[in-house]
Amino acid sequence: MTAVVPPPAATVDAVARNRVRRSVRRRLVITVLAVLVAAAFVVTLMVGRTFYPLDEVVRVVLGERVPGASFTVGRLRLPRGVLALVAGLAFGLAGVTFQTMLRNPLASPDVIGITSGAGAAAVFGIVILSLGGTAVSTVAVAAALGVALVIYLLSFRGGVAGTRLILIGIGVGAMLNSVTSYVLTRAGQWDYQEALRWLTGSLNGATWEAVAPALVALLVLGPVLLGQSRNLSALQLGDDTAAALGVRVERTRLIAIVCAVGVIAFATAACGPIAFVSFLAGPIAARIVGPNGSLLVPAALVGALLVLVADLVGQFALDTRYPVGVITGVLGAPYLIYLIIRTNRAGGSL
């Protein structure tokens, strides 16, 4: 259909300028975040008990043999850095997907028990079933999908309401966390560090074997999620409006849930449920990007930055070394409280 009276050119230009301004802001934020993530990643490789300068680190990453650095950077720090990067991207991406889809900042996978499911299954697999490597990942992914399904079914009553799903998810998450704690008490020989990995998340002792499945999952499922970003943005307007705009609501939701749960479950199997990263990344990204388009990419980058920086802080900034999840937990908990106070004041609309 064409308008009988074409709109004034000045208005069309104003609309175009407005749109360009919004996309410039978004691209600028994404670029800055990407640079910061890259910088934090490089610093992660440089610092440690021995400091290696930038050029040696780069040579190691490019595959050159550098005495000393090749082992420390190549075998110890690189897997840890890559895991931090992959896990951060995965947590950020999955978190903002859930938050956008359910139109609620509390709806992130770590609040509604999905990460707890993956963590509990991983611990159960390792301690009770003596599994290792890919088997642990498989169990974790299956459990995360299972938990997502259970939460979905329990909260489904002629449609999924965000608030009901979140409350049920929090309950399920608490149950699963107690499973994790219980299983850890059965693991006598298990040291404190390893236990913390499954309670709050840790990058200690990262190996390529652990990183690989998470990386592959992110590379396969991440692009599928990004392909849904427009449909997810339409879902923000409400299910009916999105459907009226030609979005196949249930299909979009199914793809988004499966992919988001997939990336986060593989990441959790590698480093445990790093506390609050998927919960924090979306809202932080929203603050700095503003209402200027999809938050998937910015939130993924914020997630990566959070994990990388929190790991640096946990390792070097304090007198004791803390696993990354302790640091992100300290950041996340106050925000959770703030959010609950704020939504209560707004009339509990969540």
């Binding site: 069309v12 104003a14 175009a16 139109r103 923000q236 307007l237 030609g246 503003g290 209402p291």
Partner: protein, 275 residues
């Protein structure tokens, strides 16, 4: 612009779970005109509208757009012909007017397609038509109720559909803004030939603004036709359980319904309104 699209319901039965809402309903929406659907609360008005825009699958029967069942059409193709403004759409926090109206272009965009001049022109035309151009940079949540409703209508207009369905577009608006929204819809209908179907609560505004009035009662069409044919004292009693007088509106000639309650009138109601 000629009105070429036909929209009709055939033997339509709609239900939520076990509860039947609409049973065996036949409805033809006259092309190029304004149709208003009226009826008591929970009579199935919104349900009917949702099904006509395929948000709800029929238990039996079909909704036909140009002779094709809407529930079988590709989602985006349908969204380029038929738009719907639901009763309570959600504006994401902080979203600007221009951004929200731009969302109406969704059915024209693929995963990788970029914004075109055509998209900008459609958004501009929608802003102009709803007189919201000056609000383009404002956040939707800062606007007044009337402005917000115009912005939502602008979003539906940016979708450039020949058919526009609106579920109670005037709820929560004061009387001046109600008239403003209905005038805007009439402008669209007259200048572009857009076929409009809306659910309205206010019988008198419905009678004045609609070319075609459909009175729904208990999931069935009680009466359909011109406002003068449909809005009668008998119809109001049957549909709403309310005694009334219907006179000619001295300003427009449309029927005007005056409710008779149990107080303040010379001849009080014989039956009391349904509780």
């Amino acid at each position: 612009m000629t009105a070429t699209h036909s929209l009709a319901a055939e033997e339509l039965t709609l239900a939520y779970g076990e509860r039947l809402v609409i049973e065996g309903l036949d409805l033809v929406v006259p092309a190029g005109s304004i149709t208003a659907i009226v009826g008591a609360n929970a009579c199935g008005k919104s349900t009917l509208l949702r099904s006509m825009s395929r948000l709800l699958s029929p238990r039996a029967g079909r909704v036909l757009l140009d002779g094709k069942a809407v529930h079988r059409m590709p989602a985006k193709e349908l969204a380029r012909t038929l738009g719907l403004l639901p009763q309570s759409p959600i504006a994401p926090e902080g979203i600007t007017v221009a951004d929200l109206v731009g969302r109406g272009r969704h059915p024209y965009q693929g995963v990788f397609s970029r914004w075109s001049r055509e998209d900008d022109a459609a958004v501009a035309a929608a802003l102009e038509a709803t007189q919201t151009t000056t609000l383009a940079d404002r956040a939707v949540d800062e606007l007044s109720g009337g402005q917000r409703q115009r912005v939502w209508i602008a979003m539906a207009l940016a979708q450039q559909t020949d058919l526009l369905l609106l579920d109670e577009p005037t709820t929560f608006l004061d009387v001046a803004h109600q008239v403003e929204v209905l005038d805007l819809l009439t402008d669209l209908n007259r200048t572009r030939g857009t076929t409009i179907v809306m659910v309205l609560h206010d019988l008198n505004l419905a009678a004045r603004y609609a070319d075609h009035l459909v009175a729904l009662a208990a999931g069935q069409i009680h009466a359909a036709g011109t406002p003068a044919q449909v809005l009668t004292e008998d119809c109001v009693r049957a549909v709403f359980g309310l005694d009334s007088r219907v006179i000619e509106d001295p300003t427009s000639g449309a029927p005007l319904m005056l409710p008779l309650g149990r107080h303040h009138v010379d001849t009080p109601a014989e039956v009391s309104p349904r509780g």
